[in-house]
Amino acid sequence: MKLPIYLDNHATTRMDPRVFETIRPYFLEVFGNAASRNHSFGWEAEEATDKARKQIADLIGATPKEIVFTSGATESNNLAIKGVAEMYAERGNHIITAVTEHKAVLDTCKHLEKRGLRITYLPVGQDGLVDLDQLRDAITDKTILVSIMYANNEIGVIQPVAEIGRIAKEKGVLFHSDAVQAVGKIPVNVISDNIDIMSLTGHKIYGPKGCGALYVRRRNPRVQLTAQMDGGGHERGMRSGTLNVPGIVGLGAACELCGREMAEESVRLRGLRDYLKGRLMNELDEVYVNGSLEHRLPHNLNISFAYVEGESLLMGINDIAVSSGSACTSATLEPSYILKALGAGDDLAHSSIRFGLGRFTTKEEIDYAADKVVQVVRKLRELSPLYEMAKEGVDLSKVVWAAH
């Protein structure tokens, strides 16, 4: 086993060597511009991107023409939301999203809010799920878009996407879903999930960074987006710019592998995840899983170790790469807004660790991680005045703290 161990697969994934081998020739040999119409260099490049379009479309139940290539999910989310806001400005000015969305969605919405659009940020329950009745009630005749993620990047909670899509359809509102964490990991189908626009990216599915896609429905309804990048009119005019052929080839190859291996891989990762959870919960007291366990990605575990601060825990397990919702690990010095939205209390947000398992995770690594986490949590609890007080029977929620 090699240290450090990588368990941060929601942040990014290691490229699958098979994907890498597929990409390799597209740097040195097949280097043409896919938009060059009059020589074989261009034709070969276009053929490669067409193949990738089909590989991506096949994974998500779309058609190749509905795939628009972008630089990644942040751009996809920007294009989807701003593109709809501009294109459908005459129809309405209201967008509905949720408080637990990724910043690429939230900040895009905030940007539009400053420009006069009205945004509704739906709350989530303790399980991390949006309430469908609240969604229904939030839709007005001015609503043009609902944007709700497929699965959450921190807590792995899977939203009731098909139902959300059905409600949007009933009301004649477009539905965009940021599906970066779900695509390739669990079955995603834009038809049965009633999705009109969907963001995905290569580097979360063992493909390259810097290449993503936006699914844009062509029929029933035909979705139009105002381009956010002007230029040569590539990608049906929705996203100008020379295609990143190696990236696109890699994204396509990554999608094909996921499609082929997802069923088996998700069972294996769920087994490892449940094993990790079982060990942590059996060997330590006062450990809490954040968000729904039932509606959750198979490779995600987000867990709080009460009375232990997340960054100090990360320091102790520095040969295991994971993330924490602790304020000390974020640039803003605020604890995770996603965990806060669950209403779990800031103290548990500070104590959280996100484990993201992946294709290359082994049982041996999970055992090592479990051993190490248990050992460090015990050590830090010996150091924790909160743990001591809790053991003495003090109700910490009733203590008046000298906040600073």
Binding site: Y307, V308, E309, E311, S312, M315, G316, S326, A327, C328, L333, P335, G345, D346, D347, H350, E382, L383, S384, P385, L386, Y387, E388, L396, W401, A402, A403, H404
Partner: protein, 137 residues
């Protein structure tokens, strides 16, 4: 974030972890911070009432590595100092000793606050616990 060697040393080998008897009139306890802010420090001193010298200091901290190191260092510095000398410890001394980056300065502030709170608790106890013979007068 890269930690200084001194922070790592205190994190890996914290000095003077533990608790002193809160009820002891020669023990001062300071508890500062709040769980929802991500750090709580408990710092205790045991003072020789004759000499005013701190003979023991203990801490427990819920917080990041820099918070643990700041309080661990504080207990090291407190031992052997008089109560008045202890009050002269400034957060900037801790920042310099541990090479804390700007985002971690609040950890040193918290440690200074914890020292002040512990000493003030000790002083309060000394004043209120009036010796028996004077009480009779």
């Amino acid at each position: 974030m890269a930690y200084s060697n001194k922070v790592l040393d205190h994190y890996n080998h914290p000095r003077n972890v533990g608790s002193l008897d809160k009820a002891d009139r020669n023990v001062g306890t300071g508890m500062v911070g709040a769980p929802e802010c991500g750090d709580v420090m408990k710092l205790q001193v045991k003072v020789d009432p004759e000499t005013g010298v701190i003979e023991d200091a203990k801490f427990k901290t819920f917080g990041c590595g820099s918070a643990i190191a700041s309080s661990s260092l504080a207990t090291e510095w407190l031992r052997g100092k008089t109560v008045d000398q202890a009050l002269e410890i400034k957060n900037t001394d801790i920042v310099n000793e541990l090479s804390l980056p700007p985002v971690k300065i609040h950890c040193s502030v918290l440690a200074e606050d914890a020292i002040k709170a512990a000493i003030s608790d000790y002083k309060k106890k000394q004043q209120s616990a009036v010796p028996a013979e004077t009480a009779l007068v």
